[in-house]
Structure formats: structure tokens, C-alpha cells
């Protein structure tokens, strides 16, 4: 009896939190319909009010997304707990959008052009979806070209200095000095050496990965327990095995630490090099928007960056979890 009671209680509780999660977005949607937009009406040049359609669709999208997650989570206890835990935060997102809409679009307490309402920002997706997609694509391309070459160069250099004492003697001090220089400092040089902005950007982004990853790789290899080498030798291993199957795997956790460090630096470098050198990408888009004071486009680009960079971090974490699966339970996450 009490078990089924408990079950019913837990069901009720979950439904309650599902409502809490969704109510913020419903309220924001209601607000969007309830009051007319006034922001932009009093502009001297080109007075206009934002089109609400994209914003309303986006809110409905968020509503459906979280409803979907809720339904998906309903059938497993651990997922239910996670969903319930996140409910207050998701409520806050909805209420924040509502407040933003109210203060900017509706009441015009926050003024244009610096503080556009959410409908203006989201509407960029309708104004120039293809152009925005193209710039996002440019950013993704530059990031992966730069970062992947940074990882390859970093691991390569790391192996050299981690394995060959002579390489360490000559390269390590250079790495230590150049490693503390922020990659941005090379920008003017990169721009004049590589005539195309894309190459300059690739170079600069790869510099962000190169040094930390090389350093961590070398350190991870040097930290290999002597026992592992000795075991391998008594099993008949020669140098390539000791290097690639003992020292390098031993360095993998370090390499991923290097990659995570480099990630943040690379995002910064990516945006800076697009704002200053490149002829494409979200950073370039921001620069263009600024020149004509279209601040709402800047917000749109920033939101896209937030989503994009979070996804990239998620991807890196996923790969890390896969590669370092042998560490699970060995270390505290």
C-alpha cells in the first residue's frame, strides 16, 4: 500500500516539476502576446518595431524541447531526479526571457540600439538565415583546421621532447618562453606572413593548442612509471613499442588536460582573429554588425557562439571519456 502511495507521490512530484520547468516559457510567450512592442517606435531614423514571430517560434521550440526531455526522463528514476534538479534553473531561463522582453521590447526601459529585445535578436535568424549559417560554418571550419593542427603539432612536439633527451634540451626552453606569449601577440606577423586571413587564423588558433598540449604530452610521457618500461622490455618490447604503447598511452590523461586548457584559448583566438583578420566567421559578422550599429546582430552571434562552443566542449569531453575509459572509477571526475 505504502509503496504504491510512494509511487503515486513521486509521479505527482515529477509532474509538478515538469510544470515548473515549462511555466517560464509559457509565461514568456503570454507576455509576448499580451503587450505590444514599443521599442524602436521613437527612433528618429527608420522607426520600426521588432517582428515577434521568430521569437515566439523559438519560445515554442524551447517549450517543446523541454517537454520532450521531460517525457524522455519520465521513465527512469535517475533521469527524473536530474530533470527535477534542473527545473528551477529552466524556470529562471523562461522568466529571464520574459523580463528581458518586458523591459526592452514592451516598455522600452532598455533602449535601442544597445539593448534590443529578444524578438529583434531572434529575428536575425529570419532576416539572414543563410548568411548567418555561412558565417557559423566559417567559424567551425577555422576552429577545426586550427585546433586539430594544434593538437597534431602539440602531440608531435610533445613526443619529441618527452622521448629524446636532446630534443628536450634544445626545444623545451624555447617552448617555455614562447608558451607564455599569448598567441594574439603574433597576430600582426601572422597576418603579413599568411596573406589569406584563413591561414593566419589557422596558424594562430593552432598556436593556442600547440604549446600547452606539447608541454602536457612531454610531461605525461616523462611521468611514466619505470616499472611499465621494464615490464615491456622483459616481454620483448623494442623502442617503438615503449614509445607508442607505453609512454604515449600513459600521457593520454595529460594530453586531454592540455587539450581542455587549449580549448578556451582557442575560442578566444578564433573570435579575435575573425574580428581582425578574416573575411568570414562569427567574429567577422560581429565586426560588420558593429560598423552599422546593428547591435541585435551582435547578440545573435554571441548566442550562436555560446551554443557552438558548448557543443564543441561537449564533443571534446565525449571523446575524452571514450579514450580514457580505463580511468573511470580510478579518478574523481
Amino acid at each position: 500500500m505504502s509503496v504504491s502511495n510512494q509511487k503515486a507521490d513521486s509521479k505527482k512530484r515529477f509532474v509538478l516539476y515538469l510544470c515548473v520547468t515549462l511555466i517560464g516559457f509559457v509565461a514568456a510567450e503570454v507576455m509576448s502576446f499580451a503587450l505590444p512592442n514599443t521599442q524602436g517606435l521613437k527612433l528618429k531614423i527608420n522607426p520600426h518595431v521588432a517582428d515577434d514571430l521568430a521569437y515566439r517560434v523559438a519560445l515554442a521550440g524551447l517549450f517543446l524541447l523541454y517537454l520532450g526531455i521531460g517525457i524522455f526522463s519520465a521513465f527512469r528514476r535517475d533521469r527524473r531526479e536530474k530533470f527535477i534538479k534542473r527545473a528551477p534553473f529552466r524556470l529562471a531561463i523562461g522568466l529571464l526571457l520574459l523580463t528581458w522582453d518586458l523591459l526592452a521590447s514592451k516598455l522600452d526601459i532598455l533602449h535601442l540600439p544597445f539593448f534590443p529585445g529578444p524578438s529583434s535578436v531572434v529575428n536575425v535568424l529570419r532576416e539572414e538565415p543563410l548568411y548567418l549559417l555561412l558565417q557559423t560554418g566559417f567559424s567551425i571550419r577555422l576552429f577545426f583546421a586550427g585546433f586539430l593542427s594544434g593538437v597534431v603539432l602539440g602531440v608531435g612536439t610533445g613526443i619529441l621532447i618527452g622521448w629524446f633527451a636532446r630534443a628536450k634540451y634544445w626545444v623545451m626552453p624555447v617552448l617555455k618562453i614562447t608558451g607564455v606569449i599569448p598567441a594574439v601577440a603574433w597576430m600582426p606577423i601572422a597576418l603579413s606572413v599568411f596573406h589569406k586571413g584563413f591561414y593566419a587564423g589557422t596558424f594562430l588558433v593552432s598556436m593556442c593548442g600547440w604549446f600547452p598540449i606539447a608541454f602536457m604530452t612531454a610531461q605525461g610521457m616523462a611521468n611514466t612509471q619505470k616499472t611499465y618500461f621494464e615490464v615491456a622490455k622483459t616481454l620483448g618490447a623494442k623502442t617503438p613499442y615503449l614509445l607508442f604503447r607505453v609512454a604515449l598511452p600513459n600521457a593520454l590523461p595529460n594530453i586531454f588536460t592540455g587539450i581542455t586548457t587549449a580549448n578556451g584559448l582557442a575560442f578566444t583566438m578564433l573570435v579575435v582573429s575573425e574580428m581582425m583578420g578574416a573575411k568570414g566567421g562569427l567574429g567577422y559578422y560581429i565586426t560588420l554588425a558593429r560598423q552599422v550599429s546593428n547591435y541585435y546582430k551582435i547578440y545573435a552571434a554571441i548566442i550562436i557562439m555560446a551554443v557552438l562552443f558548448s557543443l564543441i566542449l561537449k564533443l571534446v569531453n565525449f571523446i575524452r571519456g571514450r579514450v580514457l575509459i580505463w580511468q573511470r572509477g580510478l579518478i574523481n571526475e
Binding site: T227, E230, K233, G236, V246, P249, L330
Partner: protein, 260 residues
């Protein structure tokens, strides 16, 4: 008449420790081991047991004297001389299965001999744990994997440095039986370093007693007890008492040096 496999002649190894003191880890040690023999080396801490085993493995070189295996001088590590460390020598990034296979991969014969991996997993009784990582298995299991990893290379001799030193007594007895089983299966020559008199008596054909400062062999006992041996039988206990006494004498002899 058995064949001579391993021969150690007048071997000395001196270390200079961090305080610039000379440590005679081994001084003029000679020993021969026959093919298929099970030899244990026992002695107080610091008497050079590990040093001797590492020299046989080729992980270290002596200042003087020679070591040969089947007449060939020992100069570097070789899969023909398997080595099992006390603990923590499994590659943590490889599963049980792949750790055992690493014996074959290191030699570059994995493609031809990979069918042996399953055979050895079964032999050490770890079926079902193939995909586990070292941190997910017990210490006793890990040592079995270490042994299988060395044995899969079919070494002429297996060198074991206190392989059960870190295990509780039940697991230890279990592993001792497993080791005997593997030994009687292939007749791989075993050289076992241990601190445990019972273990040495239970397993060995001969027991080598060593004394420290400088590291020397003080006595070699041949154990004639029939197998399987009973740890509680009178002869076993009598021998045990004898060895313990010799060990005490051995350490008593160094007592004056402590006083200096």
C-alpha cells in the same frame, strides 16, 4: 639427469647510494638452476634478492661475474626470461585481455599467436573478466594476469619478485596452487623471491637462503618432500623450523654491524 639452464658465476653488484656510501648488494654470488626446476630465494630485507633477480632478467648488469641462460650470456631483457613484479605492473590503459596480449604484441607475434590469449585467460581462471580494466579486478587477479602475460611468451624461465607479497593469506594460498599448476603443465623453470618461509617450502625444489651486507648466498637447501605438500605435516613443520632458525642465525650474524 637434468639439464643446466641458468648459471650465475661470481656475480657482484655494488650500488652507490644517495649519501655516497657503497652498498654491496651482491658480493660474489654463484648459483645454477636446472631446466624445469622451482627455486625460491629467501632472506631478510636488503640482502640483494631483487638485485639478483633483476640481473637474471637483464634489467641490470653486474660489475663483475657472468650470467648465462642455456650457455648464452645475459646482456639485456628478453621474453625468454619472463618477469613478474610484486604489484601494479599491469598497464592500466589495457583490459585484462589486452594486457595478456601485450606479451605477444611486444614481440610482434600477435597475429600468429592471438589464439593463446583465450587459452591463458582460461588457465588463470579469469574467464568473464576479459574486458575488465586493472583497477576493476582484485590484487590476486591482477597477479594472475601478470603471470599469464609473461607465460604467454613461453619463457624458459619465469622470474617472480614477491608476486604474492601484497596479498592476503587466502588469496596467496590460492595463487600458490595456481602457480604450481602452471609449473607442472609446462615445466617452466621458476625462480621465486619471497619473504614467506611457508611459501618457499610449499613450492620449491630448492631454497636459496641469502644474507645481507654484503648480499651473499649462505645456504642452499634441497627440499625432498613429495607433492602435493601439506603445510601441517610434521616434516614440513620441522623443515620450517630449521629454515627459520637459519634465517635468524643469518640476521644474528649481521647484528654486530648494526652496532658500528
Amino acid at each position: 639427469m637434468s639439464n643446466l639452464l641458468l648459471s650465475i658465476e661470481h656475480v657482484s653488484r655494488t650500488y652507490i647510494d644517495s649519501n655516497d656510501n657503497r652498498v654491496d648488494a651482491l658480493a660474489d654470488v654463484s648459483l645454477t638452476v636446472d631446466d624445469g626446476e622451482f627455486v625460491s630465494i629467501i632472506g631478510p630485507s636488503g640482502c640483494g634478492k631483487t638485485t639478483l633477480l633483476r640481473l637474471i632478467a637483464g634489467l641490470d648488469t653486474p660489475q663483475s661475474g657472468t650470467l648465462t641462460l642455456s650457455g648464452e650470456p645475459i646482456t639485456e631483457p628478453d621474453p625468454n626470461r619472463g618477469y613478474v613484479f610484486q604489484q601494479g605492473s599491469l598497464f592500466p590503459w589495457l583490459t585484462v585481455e589486452k594486457n595478456i596480449a601485450s606479451g605477444l604484441k611486444a614481440r610482434g607475434v600477435y597475429a600468429e599467436e592471438k589464439h593463446h590469449v583465450a587459452e591463458y585467460i582460461e588457465l588463470i581462471g579469469l574467464t568473464g573478466f576479459e574486458k575488465s580494466y586493472p583497477h576493476q579486478i582484485s590484487g590476486g587477479m591482477a597477479q594472475r594476469v601478470s603471470i599469464a602475460r609473461a607465460l604467454i611468451n613461453r619463457p624458459a624461465a619465469l622470474l617472480l619478485d614477491e608476486p604474492m607479497g601484497a596479498l592476503d593469506s587466502f588469496t596467496r594460498a590460492d595463487l600458490q596452487d595456481k602457480l604450481l599448476e602452471l609449473w607442472s603443465r609446462d615445466r617452466t623453470t621458476m625462480v621465486l623471491v619471497t619473504h614467506d618461509v611457508d611459501e618457499a617450502l610449499y613450492l620449491s625444489d630448492r631454497i636459496v637462503i641469502m644474507t645481507p651486507r654484503p648480499g651473499k648466498i649462505s645456504e642452499i637447501l634441497t627440499i625432498e618432500l613429495p607433492r602435493p605438500r601439506q603445510r601441517s605435516e610434521a616434516e614440513f613443520l620441522a623443515l620450517r623450523g630449521k629454515i627459520l632458525q637459519k634465517l635468524h642465525l643469518a640476521s644474528a650474524r649481521v647484528e654486530p654491524e648494526y652496532a658500528i
